[in-house]
Amino acid sequence: MTERGKEEREGKWTADLVLDLHSNLLKEIWEVVAALIGEAVLGLLFHLAIKKMGEKYLFLNSLKVTEEGISMDEVVEECRSLPAAEIHRGFQGLINHLFNLFSALAEGVISREVFPKVFPKLREAERLISQK
């Protein structure tokens, strides 16, 4: 079996893709929402969501959020040994919780701006997972 074939069998290749996808997704969310509510408040919401979802998906606690943005460096390391589906579920939970917070604060105003940009990428992540 080739090296790549081996990686695919172990889910590594997909895990990297899922990580990339969610990294872009979070950055996209950050850019759009920061423009609406400011980095300070958004950073706080991210911290709340990470705290909540980090209880179930420990690797999320390695996400670093500052007013400058999100850093995925440590998460990438944490996720090396995790199956792609687990990574996907963790990030999905985080994003869902963020959307819940957005809705609680501003009803549909934030979601209306973010959803069209984020939804296709979420679907893409789901497609990748289901292919595995």
Partner: protein
């Protein structure tokens, strides 16, 4: 484009008004005054964690049910952010009603909350409260409203944080940490103001100096911790015995001082005598013992004692206190001029 410039100008003056505010009520008032130029809303609210208070600035035709719905929603959102209070009954509601709409657009008595924008007030990663725009109209707010509101929220959070810091510094600066009475420095400042009012307005002003009798013996016998407890108890009795407008301060050691504005010699004597009797009747727990403690009090009063300055008033009250001590303690003496 012209509309954006207009809105930015309004935003700028709103922020400026917030910056110029000296207390939270002023922030609500100045923001509430400016916000109708930026948004169409029925109620604007600030929930401030410290003191668990919601300040609402709202359209005068807002029915009570709408006000309650707004308060409940703000508390709910605040709880979602993981912050207390989670129960609306634990929140104090302060409402300012203003005419925000023309008469023909008055709110229905059955109006309900249809849309809102709520943002946490966050400074240095800490949530100190939240602000909220509320409307009885569906989809009343859009992305641009949210952008403007977040800028306002950012400024409010910074100003409120500044208040918090200022109030804790102020607390340290004016209160005696043991008794929670005003300290001597505050007393001196307060006396300047009260003396000016009295001297220029020709209204009476009295000063009472209070000293615990044989306090050194209590300290020596039972130790300083027990002595401190006595000071705290006497401080509470003093606070409970004066009028709202009076100032009670710890002058130093076991000595206290009372500023009694608009109190002539008779009223001051009555208050002093009330304090003396109250202390005398109180059974103090000192260590494992219960004991009676007494105080001596000296009074000076303007204009009857012809004091020409605040220093004169202090000196005269001190002289009267000395007379009370010399006369056998547990008594009230009025400055005699001798």
């Amino acid at each position: 484009m012209r509309l954006i410039f207009k809105n930015l100008n309004i935003l700028r003056s709103t922020i400026n008004a917030i910056n110029m505010s000296f207390e939270i009520k002023e922030i609500v008032e100045s923001a509430g005054h400016n916000l109708p130029n930026l948004f169409e809303f029925s109620a604007f609210g600030i929930l401030w964690k410290e003191g668990s208070t919601i300040y609402l600035y709202q359209e005068e035709s807002c029915p009570l049910s709408f006000t309650q719905e707004v308060a409940k929603n703000m508390v709910r959102v605040f709880s979602t952010l993981g912050e207390e209070p989670s129960d609306v009954t634990r929140v104090t509601l302060q409402v300012e009603k203003r005419k925000l709409r023309p008469t023909h657009m008055m709110m229905d008595s059955k109006a309900t909350l249809k849309s809102y924008l709520t943002l946490p007030l966050a400074v240095e990663g800490e949530i100190i409260g939240c602000i909220s725009l509320n409307s009885d109209q569906p989809n009343a707010f859009d992305a641009q409203d949210l952008q403007f509101f977040s800028v306002i929220g950012y400024q409010m959070a910074a100003t409120l944080k500044h208040f918090q810091r200022f109030s804790s510094i102020k607390t340290i600066a004016i209160y005696d940490s043991l008794t929670n009475l005003y300290n001597r420095r505050y007393f001196e400042e307060r006396l300047i103001g009260e003396a000016q009012k009295a001297f220029y307005g020709s209204s009476p002003l009295s000063l009472v100096m209070v000293d615990i009798d044989h306090f050194k013996k209590i300290n020596d016998t039972f130790g300083h911790t027990e002595g401190d407890k006595v000071l705290q108890e006497i401080a509470s009795l003093l606070k409970a015995s004066v009028r709202k407008k009076d100032t009670v301060a710890r002058y130093g050691g076991e000595e206290f001082v009372l500023i009694l504005p608009e109190a002539g010699i008779e009223e001051a004597t009555m208050i002093a005598e009330r304090i003396r009797r109250l202390v005398e009747k109180t059974l103090f727990e000192v260590g494992k013992a219960q004991m009676n403690i007494t105080v001596s009090l000296g009074i000076s009063s303007f204009p009857i004692h012809h004091a020409e300055s605040k220093e004169d008033l202090v000196r005269m009250a001190d002289q009267a206190l000395y007379d009370a001590k010399r006369g056998g303690r547990n008594r009230v003496c009025v400055f005699s001029g001798l």
